[in-house]
């Protein structure tokens, strides 16, 4: 850059490096920072719309004492949207939220039926008909230190895992 920038003409003969002149640099920098600033603002706006706290009950809940689930029980905990079964091998919980689009499946003699789009599951939750992409998730059953059974609706376990008291 020649130093007397204010009024000197560029000397055509003196070969100066093909760089960016000061005025262009300032212009480019201005535009660059403006874009960066607006993107940050937009990112901020989007981040703002993402709810940081959910007004929902916790998805880990107690369902009662083991004795309340003797062998052969089939119980639908309505407000928790979970089926709890007890058979000779142990206790297990299957979520009743359809994996297709979130309706509540209802029990039938051959398994579960979703009322919204016709997805069908067998007794273990495996999809046997309709558009459901994944089987009904089996949820983790564990024992709370105070002796109550606890189901964690957020933690899916492999099909067939049964909790023995």
């Amino acid at each position: 850059m020649n130093n007397n920038a204010c009024c000197a003409h560029k000397d055509p003969h003196k070969k100066e490096p093909e760089g960016v002149s000061r005025r262009d640099f300032l212009g480019l920098a201005g535009i660059g920072v403006a874009i960066a600033a607006s993107f940050t603002a937009i990112a901020g706006i989007f981040r703002m719309t993402k709810a940081t706290v959910h007004y929902e009950e916790s998805r880990k809940f107690k369902i009662g004492m083991p004795a309340e689930f003797p062998v052969g029980t089939i119980k639908k905990l309505d407000d928790k949207k979970v089926f709890v079964f007890a058979d000779t091998e142990g206790l297990y919980a299957i979520s009743c939220i359809c994996t297709h689009l979130g309706c509540i499946v209802s029990p039938t003699e051959w398994g579960f039926q979703c009322p919204c789009h016709g997805s069908k599951y067998n007794k273990d939750g495996k999809v046997i008909g309709g558009p459901a992409p994944r089987p009904l998730p089996w949820l983790e059953v564990s024992l709370h230190e105070d002796g109550n059974l606890v189901v964690d609706a957020a933690k899916e376990v492999k099909k067939g895992t049964k909790f023995t008291v």
Binding site: M65, P66, E68, P70, V71, G147
Partner: protein
């Protein structure tokens, strides 16, 4: 003159619009409730005796009446049609102008309670069909409570002792029936009760969609459902195991009580639960609460088609002769796994230890003095294989090859498996009088004591057999 299409279109549309707008305006200013209020005004003027009343009648203003109750978050507009509900002169008028029956409005002023707190129905509606919401297509979850079940709303604030004294006989009778028919044997309420049926906490506020209406003949409302379900449970819920022999009148009372089990509480200052009467803790009351549903009198054992199993006679002196209270208590607490006999301990069905003791004490009140002849099983060297053969010939008939039980009781459950062998041996030898279990010992089939000991040892191995 103008053949112009658009001008004609404009004219026609505008005329149509104007006409329908006027029609709409007319319909808007003549809603259903205005007709009722005009009739009421005439009636009021006719019935008004003295001058002041006449003046008041004339000054009556016809408009939407609304009772807004902040604490209950209700805005009831029922009084827009039921306009004469507080007017003593309307005592003899027919509905909807009739004065409210009894002096209930005296103690429960409209301004503080509104109507739907007790009568349910759709308070915000301003026409009869939607307000009463009896039809399914009114899309309202809480149809109006029929008058014969209206007392179910009293229990939201009053305790049953007070209700009994003040004539709320239907819901009180309903509760007495509920506690005496053994409903708690299968249904849990407030944490205590069996687990075969659905828990009944808050059943009174369940929305209409909760009840399967497929087989209902009458009205599709909660109260009609309960009534029909009590009369024939399996007709409404085919796979139900409900054992209820309830006649028509009892069904009404029970339905009223069931509707009184509400999950929504009235705010604190509305409630008049002064002193909750101490629950009758006597053995008999507890027996009626929990056991009578299946064991009825407890005197005779019978094979039940619904459970597909024999229900033992738990107050049978023959049983009490050889079974001591400690064994009975174990049965009541642990229940018989694999059968409908639920475990009643505090962590399961929720009875306290003391309650279980009271029940066992009540059951064993007719224990005969004589003790059965002792049977020292220990001195016999038991041959389980021989016991197995004998079991298959003699016992499998009634108790099932694997002891899962059908006519005979289930022998696989932990209570029998861990019972005292002498008790089992005595039972096999003497049989159980009053039940189909015959004596196999010397004064019956005539098996030798060694054979009985073998059978008992084989019975003890039944729990390993997979069902």
């Amino acid at each position: 003159m103008h053949r112009r299409f658009y001008l004609k279109l404009l004219l026609v549309s505008s005329i149509a619009l104007l006409a329908f707008a006027l029609l709409a305006a007319y319909k808007e200013i003549n809603p259903e409730w205005k007709h009722y209020q005009n009739n009421y005004k005439e009636l009021f003027m006719k019935n008004a005796k003295d001058e002041a009343m006449k003046e008041k009648a004339k000054a009556f203003k016809v408009e939407v009446q609304q009772l807004y109750i902040e604490k209950l978050n209700r805005a009831d507009r029922c009084v827009s049609c039921h306009i004469g509900v507080e007017n003593p002169m309307m005592a003899k008028a027919e509905a909807p102008y009739k004065k409210h029956s009894g002096d209930y409005l005296g103690k429960h002023p409209l301004s503080r309670f509104g109507c739907t707190a007790c009568h349910q129905g759709q308070g915000r509606a301003t026409n009869k069909e939607e307000a009463h919401a009896l039809e399914h297509d009114t899309h309202w979850e809480y149809p109006i409570v029929p008058l014969k079940h209206i007392q179910s709303s009293c229990a939201q604030c009053h305790d049953y002792a007070m209700l009994e004294k003040n004539g709320a006989d239907k819901v009180v009778r309903g509760r007495k029936l509920f506690l005496e028919k053994g409903c708690l044997g299968c249904h849990k309420v407030d944490g205590a009760g069996g687990i075969l049926g659905k828990a009944l906490d808050g059943i009174g506020t369940q929305p209409r969609a909760y009840f399967p209406m497929r087989y209902i003949q009458g009205e599709r409302t909660q109260s009609a459902w309960h009534k029909e379900h009590f009369l024939d449970p399996r007709a409404i819920v085919p796979e139900s195991e409900m054992k209820a022999s309830i006649n028509d009148e009892e069904a009404d009372f029970l339905a009223t009580y069931i509707l009184a089990l509400k999950s929504t509480e009235m705010p604190r200052e509305y409630r008049r639960i002064r002193q909750t009467e101490t629950p009758d803790m006597s053995g008999e009351a507890l027996y009626k609460k929990y056991c009578i549903g299946c064991h009825t009198t407890g005197r005779e054992s019978y094979f039940d088609e619904i459970f597909n199993r024999t229900i033992p006679s738990i107050m049978n002196p023959a049983l009490l002769k050889s079974a001591d209270n400690q064994y009975l208590k174990k049965i009541v607490s642990e229940g018989r796994e694999g059968t409908q006999m639920t475990s009643w301990k505090p962590t399961a069905a929720g009875l306290t230890e003391q309650e279980i003791d009271m029940i066992v004490e009540y059951i064993s009140k007719d224990r005969p003095a004589a003790k059965p002849e002792p049977f020292d099983v220990a001195k016999f060297r038991a041959d389980v294989k021989r016991g197995g053969e004998l079991f298959n010939i003699r016992c499998a008939l009634c108790h099932g090859k694997k002891g899962e039980g059908e006519l005979g009781i289930n022998l696989k459950n932990p209570v029998v498996q861990s019972a005292d062998p002498e008790f089992l041996a005595v039972t096999v030898r003497d049989g159980r009088a009053g039940t189909p279990m015959p004596p196999f010992g010397k004064d019956g089939v005539g098996l030798k004591e060694q054979e009985i000991a073998d059978i008992v040892s084989y019975v003890k191995t039944l729990s390993q057999k997979k069902l």
